[in-house]
């Protein structure tokens, strides 16, 4: 019995360093959310600053910015979720239909790569590609004779580029989970279908798709948690004042008002709202995923 007890202590000791870091960098800042209901006075610190109730929120909602950033966040995130959900499925099926294994591997190697590159660097490249005198404008001009388009300064085009470039970066990586599910399909099902004279489309419909149905449901339900994540890294590195109307999102607004302008209460208040809604979304998406795709985190 004594040995068992000392083992418990050792288990706790092993967890100590990691838990300490979580406590400091994740749990402790959660206490800081009280700032959303206070008027921050730097010399007094968070705890001794006076309470203001819902004042910060009423301030936020009195400005048109709140509605704008919320609308932009949801629209951009939903577009990314929709296309980012469909395209990897189609692409995985295309790869699956391919017979040349070496070509398949080459394609996979290439399309996974952008996922691992940072938005900082990709933004540098994209800004250059879509610049007024950039290669895209020149190609369009020589092909269709179009005038120069100010892609990065136009609200319609900019949002399109945001969604498009996110799909471009992530679709390849998104196929991995489907390709793994596809290799799990029993080959004898295809053989049986062949003997029964099934066409390619019939095999796709009756063997392949049912084989990855659970995975499709899983990915779909889990993606719901990102309804408020429109992609800070990407937008922060690509946007400019001209396109705030279409692409200023919650996260970028929190950064600007909080870090750059020093309105800590406002930044905290909006951030808290986002965290709270996201929390509900995560619980919702996990419960859907566990019900319909038998998903468990651990």
């Amino acid at each position: 019995m004594r040995r068992k007890w000392s083992e418990q202590i050792h288990f706790n000791l092993m967890l100590l360093p990691g838990m300490l870091l979580i406590l400091i960098f994740t749990i402790w800042p959660m206490g800081g959310i009280v700032l959303a209901f206070k008027h921050f006075i730097p010399t007094k610190g968070i705890w001794h600053s006076p309470w203001t109730g819902w004042e910060n929120y009423s301030f936020v909602f009195d400005t048109p910015v709140a509605l704008r950033v919320f609308k932009n966040t949801v629209i951009i995130a939903l577009m990314k979720i929709a296309f980012g959900f469909l395209i990897p499925i189609v692409f995985a099926l295309m790869l699956h239909e391919l017979r040349f294994q070496w070509f398949k591997r080459v394609v996979q190697t290439i399309v996974y790569l952008p996922h691992f590159l940072s938005w900082v660097l990709l933004a540098g490249i994209l800004r250059d590609l879509f610049a007024v005198d950039g290669i895209i404008n020149q190609m369009l001009h020589s092909l269709f004779g179009t005038e120069q388009i100010m892609f990065m300064g136009d609200n319609f085009w900019f949002r399109t580029i945001i969604v498009g470039s996110d799909i471009w970066k992530e679709f390849g990586f998104g196929t991995i989970i489907y390709l793994a599910a596809l290799t799990g399909i029993n080959p004898s099902l295809y053989e049986a279908a062949d003997i029964d004279g099934a066409t390619r489309m019939q095999k796709l419909k009756y063997v392949t798709l049912p084989g990855i149905a659970t995975t499709i449901v899983l990915v779909g339900t889990l993606s719901l948690q990102n309804v408020l994540n429109a992609g800070f890294d990407q937008i922060f590195n690509l946007y400019n004042t001209l396109v705030y109307d279409s692409s200023d999102i919650i996260d970028t607004y929190v950064f600007r008002s909080g870090i750059e302008e020093g309105h800590y209460e406002i930044g905290t208040a909006i951030g808290l709202m986002k965290s709270a809604v996201s929390f509900v979304l995560i619980i919702f998406s996990y419960s859907l995923a566990s019900r319909f795709a038998n998903y468990r985190i651990f």
């Binding site: 870091l21 960098f25 790869l95 940072s118 390849g172 390709l179 870090i259 619980i283 651990f298």
Partner: protein, 295 residues
């Protein structure tokens, strides 16, 4: 499988190959274009003649890059940061994962810790409280502010925990019979058996840490301490001609408008990722699937 060789099927196959080749090309095009610019003559790059191949091949931009001391100092900060973070995180994650992979019967508080971890993954106080906490700890302008917040990656820990749980219990029990304690078991039995998943999590962490720019941006004010991605962020991205305010800005723009040098810097910053990419590719597919191995 019976091979379908009708002309229609062959045409479909050909269309598929062409389509996939085009998609692959578009995945790579921005990167190739950037590489081509970095090897081109500045005048030709500015005039927009460059698409896939360099025009007027020259390594001039890389020579200039070689003399850029700020680039190299931030590159070095990033390398140091990746090495230190990954080394410490390896042990912290391993140590956390072993007790968490025990059953509740063996480790009474297991679920308490587990829920704390999951909660910390699902909810956060937002950027501003985090910023204030770090400032309060006097970590501003300190190298460790780039390391400490990145040490525990809950997703990676859960991946390792799930892997540990797939290791037969008998191994643990027989080691315990021979008198092995938890530390011995974690380091001498579980660690060697879990190299695939530990390699996966480490490689993912390398990429995450290398690409992270925010901590350097908000917590480090002096040029010599910022990591590479933060340097690149300030250099390539944050300069907005419509917001030019000072002469300083204009001067910075002038040096940046050296398009070929910018492209060279971008490519050089990608290089470490490209170097680990072959290893990554070998591991990440299995790594992602490892997470789904459950009791």
């Amino acid at each position: 499988m019976v091979r379908n060789t009708t002309p229609g099927a062959k045409a479909a196959e050909a269309v598929l190959v062409i389509l996939l080749a085009l998609i692959s090309f578009s995945s790579l095009f921005p990167i190739i274009h950037n590489l081509a610019i970095s090897f081109s003559m500045p005048a030709k790059a500015m005039a927009g003649f460059v698409t896939v191949f360099p025009k007027g091949f020259t390594i001039e931009s890389y020579k200039k890059l070689y003399e850029d001391s700020v680039f190299f100092s931030s590159f070095w900060v990033s390398v140091k940061r990746v090495v230190v973070t990954c080394a410490i995180s390896f042990f912290i994650s391993l140590l956390m994962s072993y007790p968490l992979s025990r059953s509740v019967r063996e480790f009474k508080l297991r679920n308490v810790y587990m829920w704390l971890l999951v909660f910390s993954m699902m909810f956060n106080g937002g950027l501003i409280p985090f910023y204030l906490v770090v400032r309060q700890m006097h970590l501003m302008n300190n190298f460790w502010v780039l390391v400490l917040p990145m040490l525990v990656n809950v997703f990676n820990v859960i991946l390792i925990v799930n892997y540990f749980r797939s290791i037969p219990k008998e191994l643990d029990e027989s080691a315990a019979m021979d008198g092995a304690g938890p530390w011995y078991k974690a380091f001498r039995i579980y660690m060697p058996l879990s190299m695939p998943v530990l390699a996966t999590t480490t490689l993912f962490l390398i990429v995450t840490v290398w690409n992270e720019f925010m901590l350097g941006l908000i917590f480090i004010n002096h040029e010599s301490g910022i990591p590479l991605q933060t340097y690149m962020q300030q250099l390539v991205v944050r300069i907005d001609p419509t917001l030019m305010q000072s002469l300083e800005d204009v001067k910075r723009l002038a040096s940046v408008s050296d398009k070929t040098l910018g492209a060279a810097k971008i490519f050089a910053s990608m290089l470490p990722i490209m170097l680990v990419y072959p290893f990554l590719q070998r591991f990440f597919i299995s790594g992602i699937m490892l997470g789904s191995v459950k009791e």
